[in-house]
Subunit: 233 residues, 2 copies
DNA sequence: AGAAACCAAAAAGTCAGACTTATATGTCAC
DNA sequence: GTGACATATAAGTCTGACTTTTTGGTTTCT
């Protein structure tokens, strides 16, 4: 998943990125390129490339005579897939999970509504296929199989919406769903009501009923919010 | 606005970024670092830093023995503020404007609902202030003054939602609104109904009425969709 | 004493050149 | 045609010297 070990500068990022997003260097901390280069045992050129990438993510700012300063979280490019991965993998995981779930609750219903209007027959077929796969794996601790279809389902919805920015959230949603299964509490079989909702969404999209698709998806995301205690019961 | 001229590599990006996002290099095009360095009259080290940044935006991929290849639009990090700016400034502007407006229509209503629950008294005050400023500038071709308050209004809503990912969309929304005033057709005074809606949203947030704040904001964004002919009348 | 001008050190920024490594592609034998 | 092998290519890496900006302290003048 993603882009592992693409060169030396990538290795550096794999260490520095998670460290910064985890808050190991509080905002305002100052790093020096040469020192970092020594610490990671790479040349300054490689280190500079890594710093440039962090800078383009607004994780740090590089200024002459002062050094590379860590920026406050409010400056971070929180939509950068790399940043999201780093945060999901580290100490910032709960916060990232919450904000992503709220984002999902806003985006996915609208995406489903658009999908009902724009989905191709192939996408409709794939959607029902996914929903059926979820049903088939909804009992008997077949969490892995369930997850695969769940991820595929939401990815198709986002793609079929026809909006490039929605489509780009597919990977993020996938990581959220996968995380819920693997890290969070998810011992029992999935909620039967949720499974039913997915089937109904697939049907609504196929029927071109945007209103219904949106409303049903809203119910799904409300469920996700409840799981994280973001909504009062 | 943003980060102009932060070093030589930034200058290179200011040319290459817009060129790529405008589609001047079709997907699959191959660039060579050395050739680019010559073309921009910079050292290879500087050029490499620029390429690294483009790579972190998934605009290009760098592979040994082949070169720097331009990636298809579906790979781009379309949430990167820099990418958004480049696209809004170039040939891809209409597409970017549409997808951003659809994103707004999904996010802002939910953000307004959350703002109604979480906004501080100061934020509520600022919000009504903005709304009043919009009213005051809604007649007599005072578009500039209107725009300032409109931008501030939406920024407060997104910030007050308490969700970091929503808050980060403030800059983007600002650029969309500014673009609508400056580039798009916007000769007459703003729609009075829209002005009223903003005032009502401010009131709903102050009253803590999440449901109403969300619904009213939805009406605002529906208006924005209509402006771009995304919704049927 | 306070402000203005000045100086020196520090760290990022830039450049040039040599070298390494992976890999796409063409060549040859079978 | 298939597989092994050689070769050329372009990215990747390292090093060292040099430039530029900026900060913080020092000196000087009012």
């Amino acid at each position: 998943m993603s882009t592992p070990g693409r060169g030396l500068h990538g290795r550096v990022l794999d260490t520095l990125g998670p460290a910064i997003t985890a808050g190991e260097y509080p905002p305002g901390s100052v790093l020096r390129t040469d020192e970092l280069a020594q610490r990671f045992d790479v040349s300054r050129s490689v280190m500079r490339e890594a710093v440039r990438v962090l800078e383009s993510m607004s994780l740090v700012a590089s200024r002459r005579r002062v050094g590379v300063t860590v920026l406050p979280r409010t400056e971070w490019n929180v939509y950068d897939p790399q940043v999201i991965r780093w945060r999901l993998a580290g100490a910032d995981r709960p916060r990232q999970l919450r904000s992503l779930t709220v984002l999902r609750s806003a985006v996915e219903p609208v995406a489903a509504g658009l999908a009902a209007q724009h989905a191709t027959p192939e996408q409709c077929a794939e959607l029902t296929e996914c929903a059926l796969g979820m049903v088939a794996n909804s009992r008997g601790h077949r969490l892995q199989g369930y997850l695969v279809h769940d991820i595929a389902f939401h990815r198709v919805i986002l793609t079929a919406s026809g909006n490039e920015m929605f489509a780009r959230l597919g990977d993020v949603v996938a990581e959220v769903l996968a995380g819920r299964t693997h890290h969070e509490v998810m011992f029992e079989d999935p909620d039967p009501a949720a499974v039913t909702l997915h089937v109904q969404v697939a049907e609504a999209v196929r029927a071109g009923d945007a209103e219904r698709a949106e409303q049903l998806t809203r119910e799904i995301t409300v469920g996700a919010l409840h799981e994280l205690d973001i909504l009062a019961p």
